[in-house]
Symmetry: C2
Subunit: 90 residues, 2 copies
């Protein structure tokens, strides 16, 4: 599914205008991004949590060149699905 598919589906199921749905979906994504940038996790009951994970300094590989590089410590965005969501896919 693409964003357009999602927007159409939501508009169909809720009766809300596609324009408002699109704006809301885009605002949702932007809000999650900004929140995690501020290291504030987002908990969505029954769906999952968008959380910040810390990654230690790491020795990685540039596999194209077969060289070693050091990746400094950094944060990554992660999603932890809720039990309900996981159970739905099992």
């Amino acid at each position: 599914m693409t964003k357009a598919d999602i927007v159409n589906e939501i508009a169909k199921n809720t009766g809300i205008s596609k324009d408002d749905v699109l704006k809301t979906v885009e605002a949702f994504m932007e809000t999650v991004k900004v929140s995690l940038t501020k290291e504030e996790n987002v908990y969505l009951r029954g769906f999952g949590s968008f959380i910040v994970k810390k990654r230690a300094k790491k020795t990685a590989r540039n596999i194209s060149k077969n060289t070693t590089i050091i990746i400094p410590e950094h944060n990554i965005p992660a999603f932890k699905p809720s039990k309900e969501f996981v159970a739905k896919l099992k």
Copy 2:
């Protein structure tokens, strides 16, 4: 942030009613869940992809009982953040 926090933030930033925003956010989550249940991934450019990952059969431990359990092969929901999202947190 909780769902209510997100809804308030979106309503504030877009001017859309909290009721409509709440309905849209809930419908968004439900649509993503149903899509992944159907093994149809959701691609949201600039945010990330909700994808189905296959987990192989695995031997795990029940540490309370110190016994071994076989977890059968199954699907899990996963999120792959976009490069833009990852870069924002680095």
